[in-house]
């Protein structure tokens, strides 16, 4: 050990002598810090605590049917929140997902009502409905991408525009009422299987979440998503087309909203013009509670999954313990503030380490 300068040069001395005490200590502190600042670990603890508290107040909460109901509510929200996670990791935001969910479910409802009316069987009708729903979702995502890349709007403004437009179109098309008359067996599909925890849509969503998580955290697509959000210039300088990647991410978010729209259609058995109203806020809340940074560059699908689960647990739990549902918003506000504050504190912790 010739020199004893700070980290940069200390690291360079090779091989490091065994039991090099400052380094070992630093590593130990790092491991401890990582556990404490691991947002997903904290979320699991919070979720368990919520379940315990609600169960103590009303034991009915701890039942398969209550949990199954939470998962049913969770499915469409976590779906749009998963798409939103990709968007937020790029440093953007997609405010349009609630509206996109609504309009895709409404348009799919019209298509399916038409097909059912002309004597189509339920199976093919549902397939067409799913394709229409995804198509509308992807279309709104593409419009967002064009507004951002070509019209040069910031994502907040671009997706605020499509939020308003989507909600408006849904109201005009439906004249404010639900669109029924689709395949009669639709709503049966979203019932839980054998009165257990899961329904087909929930299982579908879980599979999609696993795939989305793999693509975000283990594949090139996700690597680019993080790079764009961490330093867009570095991404460009490394040969990544930032515009093309952003377009893909907003279209993905639209497709996920379209899928959520179809899931919601199955649950309601009709297309409702208010189906996804303010769901974008639930989605963003789930992502933020899950530990993603609105500044971009950080986030985990697993965190979003837990964030959405905590939201729905709070909503369900407050209902089951007979608290005025208007308190929901307050509870969610507290969760968001706590999660964001945790993240800020962790940021300070990281900066001190650097």
């Amino acid at each position: 050990m010739a020199t004893r300068e700070p980290v940069a040069t200390a690291e360079q001395q090779a091989p490091p002598s065994p039991g090099n005490s400052p380094k070992t200590a630093e590593r130990r502190a790092g491991r401890f810090g990582r556990l404490v600042s691991n947002q997903q670990f904290i979320l699991v603890v919070v979720l368990v605590l919520l379940v315990v508290v609600f169960t103590v107040i009303n034991p009915i909460f701890f039942s398969v049917s209550a949990a199954g109901n939470i998962l049913v509510q969770w499915a469409p929200i976590v779906m749009i929140a998963a798409g939103e996670t990709f968007v937020i990791v790029t440093g953007g935001i997609d405010l349009s997902v609630g509206s996109t969910l609504t309009i895709s479910s409404v348009v799919a409802a019209f298509a399916m009502a038409g097909l059912t009316g002309s004597g189509w069987a339920d199976g093919p009708t549902l397939v067409v409905g799913a394709i229409v729903s995804l198509g509308i979702g992807g279309l709104v995502g593409a419009v967002n991408a064009v507004l951002i890349n070509v019209a040069k709007l910031v994502p907040f403004v671009a997706t605020l525009a499509t939020l308003g437009a989507g909600a408006g179109v849904a109201l005009v098309l439906t004249k404010g009422g639900p669109i029924a008359g689709g395949p009669p067996s639709a709503s049966g599909l979203s019932a839980t299987i054998d009165n257990g925890l899961f329904s087909w849509p929930v299982l579908f969503v879980i599979v999609i979440l696993v795939i989305a998580g793999l693509f975000l955290h283990k594949a090139r697509f996700g690597r680019y998503t993080f790079a764009v959000g961490g330093n867009a210039f570095a991404a460009t300088a490394s040969g990544i087309s930032v515009k093309r990647h952003l377009a893909k991410v907003y279209i993905l978010s639209g497709l996920f909203a379209g899928a959520a729209g179809f899931i919601l259609y199955l649950q309601l058995g009709s297309g409702s013009p208010s189906a996804g109203t303010s769901d974008e806020l639930n989605a963003i809340a789930a992502v933020v509670i899950g530990g993603a940074s609105l500044a971009g560059g950080f986030g985990k699908i697993w965190g979003t999954v837990l964030g959405a689960l905590i939201l729905e647990t709070v909503y369900s739990g407050l209902t089951i313990i007979n608290i005025d549902p208007n308190w929901n918003q307050v509870a969610v506000a507290i969760l968001i503030a706590a999660a964001a504050s945790l993240q800020a504190l962790r940021g300070i912790h990281l900066r001190r380490k650097a």
Partner: protein, 255 residues
């Protein structure tokens, strides 16, 4: 000193305006294989703009860009990287939220074999290993491959950026202020890296405010002032005082 007579990488009569601001006016320069070209100038002289033109981040309004005598119209940094030209940007070339090896391989990730690889699934361990070896070869403050860049010191970050550029460069390497954030000893190591790149036959364009480094390591120096090349001479024609005088304009360059 130069390997061949024909320049390896050359720009001719480059013009670039930002609105009404003239950033580059009739700029020409060339680097040969096995040559270190110094690019100096005061703040606002147009160095960064020129670097961005050379690296494909910006297109010039007019002028020619030639690699090995063939004219190119770079559409993006991607084209330039593919052609074997690497650029180290001042301060901003790394993604702080990604690990060292993710940065070294950014845009050129290795994927696993088979169908999963086609879907873009990453061979992360392989990249970690190779990135670590690459940085060790460069020998400027080797950082652990699986730490994020945000966790590194300024010197370590710079080392990662240099290691990345050096290990990918096949023809030309452009280094914009590579000795920033570095102590004297580490800066000396960067100069060694530049000499090694030159010995390998790469063309090196070295941009720096640290004039002793420029005088020490370059073969030729181009001086930019207010967007124009005011001198382009072998390094032996300069000393510390004349170089500083030329940069600041205290020494007249009108023939």
């Amino acid at each position: 000193m130069t390997g061949t007579d024909a320049p390896l990488y050359e720009v001719r009569n480059i013009y670039k305006n930002y609105g009404s601001v003239v950033a580059l006016e009739n700029v020409s320069l060339a680097v040969h294989a096995g040559e270190v070209l110094g690019l100096v100038g005061d703040n606002g002289a147009g160095k960064s703009t020129l670097v961005k033109v050379l690296s494909g981040a910006h297109s010039p309004d007019s002028g020619e860009i030639l690699l090995e005598g063939v004219e190119h119209h770079w559409k993006s940094p991607h084209d330039v990287l593919e052609a074997g030209i690497e650029t180290l940007y001042q301060d901003s070339g790394l993604a702080p939220n990604l690990t060292v090896s993710s940065n070294v391989f950014l845009g050129r990730e290795l994927t696993v074999k088979g169908p999963l690889g086609k879907l873009g699934f990453l061979a992360q361990k392989k990249m970690d290993t190779i990135a670590h070896e690459d940085l060790e070869r460069v020998r400027i403050g080797v950082a652990k491959s699986d730490r994020t860049v945000a966790e590194l010191s300024g010197g370590q970050r710079q080392a990662v950026a240099i290691g990345r550029a050096v290990s990918w460069a096949r023809k030309v390497i452009i280094l914009d202020e590579p000795t920033n954030h570095l102590g004297a000893r580490q800066a000396g190591e960067v100069l060694d890296v530049i000499r090694a790149a030159k010995a390998k036959g790469l063309g090196v364009i070295f941009i720096s405010h640290t004039l002793p480094h420029v005088l020490e390591v370059t073969d030729r120096i181009v001086v930019l002032r207010l967007g124009k090349v005011v001198r382009d001479e072998p390094t032996s024609e300069f000393n510390a005082q004349t170089l500083l005088g030329t940069i600041t304009g205290l020494i007249s360059t009108q023939p």
